[in-house]
């Protein structure tokens, strides 16, 4: 390996690491607020990328059907619940978000000729289709089980992951897709070529991380989420709805996931099941941070990215094995520093 290859691999590693960092932040966020270990996070990466690819190819993305279907299911459930509770004034809001919104999205997909729109509009439309799926999944799968144990929630996560991967196969087929880069610009830096897309990834993930920081530190909703993460009951007593907190964290995670997918779609071919491995690497990073620390998780993500890109050079067949083995020293360290007997809830 000469210096140039080393630098190239380093660039690759940092680019992927930035994506893993975003995913790790989303996972830590969801775990902290809802105690859900969110395995399906990776599916949002794939859904974001493949929805954009479908729109660009002039096809109807399958995620639209999922949005419509999930919307109808929630409208039915919440409609019946509101009816039984005699709270009919809740209905307009339920119908607006779960029926009207998906229908408007469908109208855009069918009549706005997305394939001819500028790329920024295509990206926005993809996000508009995929991101609402986050809170919808929370509503359908997790909200009825909000008080269940971490273990039950984890099994639900795995079940949701399985269903979404199957749906991904149904919607997008087994072939992978790659989207055109955001810009064709590239320049040379210290003898290696840095593409415009790499810069996009690095700049937008940094911006997103800063935005998340501002959100959590400066806004009321961000503070409400933090309060829920620290003490659910206490937050509820202060008038913070844990359901709102759950939906909000799932919304943010879906946004982060789908946007990550859109960012990397020009760099790597995305298949319906690619998201899972990407998401799991985000997990490895999150575990490095003990599922609680944002900065350590982000640093862990860069480490995972670098480890992956260098091991793909030395032992490409064993790249995945090496990355997942990284959690072993982390677990050893954690089990050596944890002492007391814990009561599972």
């Amino acid at each position: 390996m000469d210096l140039q290859i080393a630098l190239l691999l380093g660039q690759d590693g940092i680019t992927n690491g930035a994506i893993y960092a975003l995913l790790a932040l989303a996972l830590v966020l969801i775990f902290a607020v809802t105690r859900v270990i969110y395995i399906p996070q990776g599916e949002f990466v794939a859904f974001g990328a493949l929805t954009l690819a479908s729109l660009q190819a002039g096809k109807t993305p399958g995620t639209l059907w999922l949005l419509l279907g999930a919307g109808v299911a929630i409208a039915l459930i919440d409609g019946v619940l509101a009816f039984h509770a005699g709270a009919l004034r809740r209905l307009p809001r339920v119908f607006l978000w779960n029926l009207a919104y998906p229908l408007v999205a469908a109208a855009l997909v069918f009549f706005a000729k997305p394939a001819e729109l500028p790329m920024a509009a295509q990206i926005l439309l993809s996000l508009a289709l995929v991101v609402p799926l986050g809170p919808m999944i929370y509503r359908l799968a997790y909200q009825p089980l909000a008080e269940a144990s971490v273990l039950v929630l984890l099994i639900v996560s795995v079940a949701v992951h399985l269903a979404l991967v199957g749906l991904g196969l149904l919607f997008f087929g087994a072939e992978g897709s790659r989207t055109p880069p955001f810009s064709d610009a590239s320049f040379d830096l210290a003898s290696i070529r840095v593409t415009g897309q790499t810069l996009w990834v690095l700049v937008s993930s940094s911006l997103l991380i800063v935005a998340l920081y501002v959100f959590f530190d400066r806004t009321l909703y961000g503070k409400a989420l933090r309060a829920t993460a620290i003490n659910r009951v206490g937050a509820r007593l202060m008038g913070i709805s844990t359901i709102m907190a759950g939906k909000l964290s799932f919304l943010l995670a879906a946004l982060i996931g789908a946007f990550s997918g859109i960012l990397i779609a020009p760099i790597t071919t995305i298949y319906y099941d690619t998201g899972f491995l990407i998401g799991l690497k985000g997990f490895v990073a999150a575990i490095v941070g003990g599922l609680t620390s944002y900065p350590i998780a982000a640093a862990g993500a860069i480490l995972v990215g670098l480890l992956e890109s260098y091991s793909s050079f030395w032992a490409s067949a064993f790249k995945e094995v090496i990355v997942f083995t990284l959690i072993i020293p982390v677990l050893v360290w954690r089990s050596l520093t944890t002492h007391h007997v814990e009561e599972e809830e």
């Binding site: 273990l151 039950v152 079940a159 269903a163 599922l291 954690r334 089990s335």
Partner: protein
């Protein structure tokens, strides 16, 4: 009970007849159901009973399958491995050893951490092993290994599905029997306490980390056995059936069938296997393209199950057979020769000495430089207003929590750094202010957990039920303590069905079953009626006469004053008074603390 036996016998007879009655297709299907059920059974033990879980069971199946495939087909084995390649049975042994080693390492890494690290660790392990199988040349890469020899049992070759059927189902029934034996034993009670009772179990002397390791190990070994059978049934292996998604399917089988019941594993394996077969036919036709679409249905089904029927299908089926039960009260209490008792230290021996013990929770000082002592044959009452730090003191003494600083001596040995189970072993036993019982277990079984340290027999004898004599004596001991505290007519009731006051009494019986010389009782009289309180006081006096030391936290002043030899009063984490009940009652500081100084 007899009805159950008849059902079981009928089921076994039916199983034996199946290959004679059904066409080949169904026999094959049943073979796979049997193989999957062995794996799911391990998960029942791990997830349903123990509250842990693994998504990596398929990888353990793969370990079993690949070990035998490699050993029985390789032409040039290293010398030290060669003997294991001689027969599939020896290869099974090698596979089990290898699996045990891997499971122990994985367990050591993750089992001491919070519950979700094990499943996450097993996901990583499942993926890694899958990629390893696919990339190691000696294991045939993604094409796998072919030409695996058939099995032979007592010199007879087991080649055809119908013959294999018997081997699979006999082994499955064997694993069911082993699992049931284990659950109905001293070790089994410790395992059943893992879900929601680790703190209590540790205080009763159970090494919960060891119990967790045991069930993780057993689940892995069952999976390995299934993989070995699979390899010799298929006669070839490749990585596909050992990937993470299959590992997830195994977990679904256990959850769907009823993760806390051994027979749930069979139901779950059956339903998922048949459903998969059917969906794999139907869905591609429906959607017009091929793919594993059944996972959409499985995923949705699982979410619905967890929301609507978290206990799975087995309890629903078992409810159909509702005629048994109800007559449990007529059951005879277990009888056996008493267990050996430790001799109590002579009256007046100093049992407990607490010196300058401070406990801080962050900035809050729950207990500040507390001092107290207690001798055998004495009842010491620790009283004080709410939040005075009494229960914190209890937790520090019993090792449930560790003191920030100070010294605690029990029988002249420093114990402040010991774990609660090590302190329990030295002869201290306790009850909890907020009762910690296993509500779905019977009163008798709950009390028997207290006697955990008095049994010696381990997991192997429990699996084979070779410990029946000891078990009988443990149960008889538990029954004796239940009679002693006056709960005899509730012996076979579910602990959760008792009134709160009775549950507290149950905790005393459990503590007594440990044969302690020092008893720590945290508000034992709360929730008791007048006569029950009198009976309790009577019991405690009797224990004192026998030479036991009793440390008591209690709010009922009348109860305390009539019983205690000495009283220590705490307020805001500090001792404000100490002495005979009469003296304490007159103490101005105590009156100030309780009545706000009006007196």
């Amino acid at each position: 009970m007899r009805r159950r036996t008849v059902i079981l016998a009928g089921f076994l007879l039916l199983l034996a007849l199946v290959p004679r009655l059904l066409p080949e297709f169904y026999v094959t299907l049943l073979n796979y159901i049997g193989l999957y059920a062995i794996v799911a059974l391990g998960l029942v033990l791990l997830t349903g009973v123990g509250g842990l879980t693994s998504f990596g069971q398929a990888a353990f199946v793969g370990l079993g399958a690949y070990t035998t495939a490699y050993l029985t087909t390789a032409t040039e084995l290293p010398v030290w491995l060669a003997p294991f390649g001689a027969s599939p049975w020896l290869a099974l042994l090698a596979g089990l050893v290898l699996t045990a080693v891997v499971a122990l390492i994985l367990g050591a890494l993750t089992l001491r951490l919070s519950g979700h690290y094990l499943p996450l660790g097993t996901i990583a392990w499942g993926i890694s092993l899958y990629f390893l199988f696919g990339n190691i040349e000696q294991l045939g890469g993604h094409t796998g290994i072919t030409g695996i020899p058939p099995l032979s049992v007592f010199g007879l070759e087991v080649k055809f599905g119908r013959e294999f059927y018997y081997l699979i189902w006999v082994l499955l029934m064997l694993t069911v029997w082993l699992t049931q034996n284990l659950l109905d034993s001293r070790e089994g009670r410790a395992i059943r306490a893992l879900k929601g009772g680790t703190l209590m179990a540790e205080a009763m002397g159970v090494d919960t980390a060891r119990s967790k390791t045991v069930i993780f190990l057993i689940a892995a070994l069952f999976a390995c056995l299934s993989g070995w059978l699979y390899a010799h049934l298929q006669r070839f292996v490749n990585p596909t059936p050992f990937g993470l998604h299959i590992g997830i399917e195994y977990l679904f089988m256990a959850v769907l069938g009823g993760a806390a019941h051994v027979w749930g594993a069979l139901i779950g394996a059956g339903v998922i296997t048949v459903l998969k077969q059917w969906l794999q036919d139907l869905l591609p036709k429906l959607f017009g393209s091929s793919g594993n679409f059944e996972m959409i249905v499985f995923g949705l089904l699982m979410v619905l199950m967890l929301q609507r029927a978290r206990d799975g299908l087995w309890p629903i089926l078992a409810r159909l057979d509702s005629r048994d039960g109800g007559n449990d009260r007529a059951r005879a209490a277990p009888h056996a020769e008493p267990m050996p008792k430790k001799t109590l230290p002579p009256s007046g021996t100093r049992l407990l000495e607490v010196k300058d013990v401070t406990k801080k929770f962050g900035g809050l000082v729950a207990s500040n430089k507390m001092n107290l002592w207690l001798q055998s044959g004495e009842v010491l009452a620790l009283i004080g207003p709410n939040g005075a730090g009494k229960s914190t003191m209890f937790n520090c003494i019993s090792g449930v929590d560790s003191a920030t600083s100070g010294e605690i001596r029990f029988l002249d040995e420093r114990i402040e750094t010991l774990r609660s189970r090590e302190i329990a072993r030295r002869g201290m036993s306790r009850t909890f202010q907020h009762v910690r019982l296993l509500p779905t277990m019977s009163v008798l079984e709950n009390v028997a957990i207290g006697a955990h340290l008095r049994g010696r027999k381990g997991v192997i004898s429990a699996l084979l039920h070779l410990e029946r004599a000891e078990e009988q004596r443990l149960m008889a001991e538990a029954a004796r303590q239940i009679e002693r505290v006056g709960l005899k007519e509730h012996m076979f009731d579910q602990a959760g069905s008792l009134a709160l006051g009775q549950q507290r009494i149950l905790e005393i019986a459990r503590a007594l079953a440990a044969d302690p010389c020092l008893l720590l009782l945290d508000e034992p009289a709360a929730g008791l009626r007048y006569l029950e309180k009198q009976a309790l006081a009577e019991l405690l006096r009797k224990l004192r006469m026998e030479g036991m030391g009793i440390l008591l936290v209690e709010h009922d002043v009348e109860f305390v004053m009539g019983l205690a030899d000495r009283v220590v009063v705490m307020e805001f984490g500090e001792k404000i008074a100490e002495g005979l009940p009469e003296q304490v009652r007159q103490d101005p500081a105590v009156l100030e603390a309780y009545l706000g100084g009006v007196a």
